[in-house]
């Protein structure tokens, strides 16, 4: 079975690079397995998987595997980053509220001055894309004015 697969695979390398004999193809599987066991590192083994079919069949038989968990630090970084992003979000929302408040308050004042009809017309004329809190706020102020 193994012989078949190796024969099916195109092999131009040995013929074209005959001056440089392919030493590692000549090593027996057991030796390659020893070498892979010495490598240990999962990333390196994963890379070995895609080198050739032979390596691909051999790598899953490795017994000793070292998984370096350095993502603990990166995870910490990520959480801190998310925290900082939260902070920036908060700052942004504060700024947004400030700006929005700056828009709403004069409108409310305008509504108070102009009375219910004008304020209604203002709220309807304000573009639909603007935030709903704007129209609600003016509506509430209009209701207050009615009362």
């Amino acid at each position: 079975m193994l012989d078949l697969t190796t024969k099916v695979y195109p092999k131009p390398y040995t013929s074209s690079s005959s001056d440089e004999i392919n030493h590692f193809d000549l090593l027996p599987d057991s030796i390659l397995l020893l070498i892979f066991n010495k490598i240990g590192d999962v990333k390196a083994l994963g890379r070995c998987c895609v080198i050739s079919r032979r390596f691909y069949t051999l790598v899953p038989q490795v017994e000793n595997v070292v998984v370096r968990v350095d993502c603990v630090i990166s995870d910490d970084d990520a959480s801190s980053a998310s925290r900082s992003s939260d902070k920036s979000c908060e700052a942004f929302s504060k700024l947004f509220r400030f700006v929005l408040g700056g828009i709403i308050k004069p409108l409310q004042a305008l509504g108070q001055f102009l009375g219910p009809k004008r304020s209604n017309s203002i709220s309807s004329s304000s573009s639909s894309s603007s935030s709903s809190s704007l129209s609600v706020g003016t509506g509430a102020s209009a209701d207050d004015e009615l009362d």
């Binding site: 390398y13 070498i35 066991n37 390196a44 890379r47 895609v50």
Partner: protein
């Protein structure tokens, strides 16, 4: 005297006919030779086929060093090992085969460790070029042809 010499020294003959006189303690680091000696099926001269004189000399050098420095600090041995295995591809391959064939565990361990260090931290193309003797354009063309071969219709 002759019996003690016979007992303590062995003659190893490489594949190309060269003979090495080696103390028995050094020679039996190879398990294959050890078995031969223990079973007393070996005469004074032990043939070591498949291993030429150069490689056999290297193996004997390694075994001697390990035998001498067994009591010495392990760090010295480590540095010796790393220097010893730092060779070209061909010698490395020959040494690995010899160590495997003669069953010299320490040497095989050191060699495999060296190869593993060479593989670690390399990209796939690097490993292919370095260990399998591929050229870059061969990888590209062969993959290209292979992909066409795989994608074709079987009719």
């Amino acid at each position: 005297m002759s019996s003690s010499l016979e007992k303590n020294m062995l003659i190893l003959r490489s594949s190309d006919g060269e003979e090495f006189i080696v103390p028995e303690v050094v020679a039996v680091m190879s398990k294959a030779i050890k078995n031969m000696v223990e079973d007393e099926c070996a005469s004074n001269t032990i043939p070591v086929p498949n291993v030429d004189a150069n490689i056999l000399a290297m193996v004997i050098e390694f075994c001697k060093k390990h035998d001498e420095s067994e009591a010495e600090a392990a760090s010295d041995l480590k540095t010796f090992d790393s220097e010893f295995v730092n060779r070209g591809q061909e010698a490395l391959y020959d040494l690995i085969t010899a160590a495997n064939f003669r069953d010299v565990k320490e040497l095989l361990d050191a060699l495999c460790q060296n190869v593993a260090e060479m593989i670690k931290g390399k990209s796939v193309h690097h490993i292919r070029i370095q260990f399998l003797g591929y050229q870059l354009f061969e990888i590209l063309t062969s993959n290209f042809i292979w992909n066409i071969w795989c994608d074709r219709d079987f009719d």
